[in-house]
Point group: C2
Chain length 181, copies 2
């Protein structure tokens, strides 16, 4: 849960990070930038800023902004009816991202899940993304990611985004941020 | 037709434009950046640089670099068999782009087609794209675009790219650049 003024402040911070990555946003894009706290009300730990550039029936592109050590919690994009689950590519533009996917667990991973929610992080195959590095996820693959010391800006290229169908490992998560006032 | 050393030089120029737009490319990405002259051997007039980040069965993302007043010639992305034609979104990152699509012809358009090939430019509905501005094209829509005075860098988000199926209005065009040596 966030207040409207907290959301405005976070939108401006996210826009600054995205601008620092060399990406120009229009003022109306900053105002519709989503500040997602996943219903956990600990935004700096679990959350991210999301600007959707385009999301048609067939494809989608977004810019993601993450605060230092902030985590996007573990989830997957399932197939729904005849619609194959979302496929996504993350390309790091600025900062450092630790992405975790299904596969052999990495010994001594860099990221730590948000305190108290460790049980909801189950995949530990680490992929390090720095500017210019990218990774493509198959549909329905469990994944989560955390920004490094400076935060991160990530471009996401994907098939259609249908956030309402995302399945989070943490059952307390609500994908859509509630506004307090 | 271009020589290998011309291609290397153009790749470096394209990478500089893309870097100036704030986008970091890895050295191996610069080496595989496509320098497309559309078989017309007048690259600074008709051509562009293309870096494909990802192109799966379902979606595609690219960075396009254009030299001052350079033109990407008129073409469309048809439906092939049961595969619906490519849908694409152009987002201007740097510079100015004049995009022309089907629709009411713009009086006094900004761009001029490359000299001698004017007859192969038939759609004249102008869309001006400056940094942070974008436009989504439906499949099979004829379109062409030209960079402004400084050149341009454009992000393209789309469904799968199958360049071999593109239909150009100019029948002399060959989509794939031939290398001289």
């Amino acid at each position: 849960m966030l207040t409207s003024s907290e959301i405005t402040q976070r939108q401006e911070q996210a826009a600054r990070m995205i601008n620092n990555a060399g990406i120009y946003l229009k003022p109306e894009e900053v105002r519709r930038l989503e500040i997602a706290d996943f219903g956990l009300s600990e935004f700096e730990k679990t959350g991210l800023g999301v600007l959707v550039y385009v999301n048609t029936e067939r494809c989608c592109a977004k810019e993601l902004a993450m605060w230092p050590h902030q985590t996007c919690p573990e989830h997957r994009h399932p197939t729904v009816g005849t619609k194959l689950g979302k496929e996504e590519t993350f390309r790091c533009r600025w900062g450092t991202v630790y992405l975790y996917v299904e596969g052999p667990a990495t010994q001594s991973p860099h990221a730590m899940p948000p305190a108290g929610r460790e049980h909801t992080y189950t995949v530990w195959h680490e992929i390090l993304l720095q500017p210019g590095e990218q990774y493509t996820l198959s549909p329905n693959t469990k994944h989560w990611f955390q920004a490094g010391d400076e935060g991160a800006v990530i471009s996401e290229f994907s098939t259609r985004s249908t956030d309402e169908h995302d399945i989070f490992t943490d059952e307390e998560i609500q994908r859509f941020t509630q506004i307090k006032d």
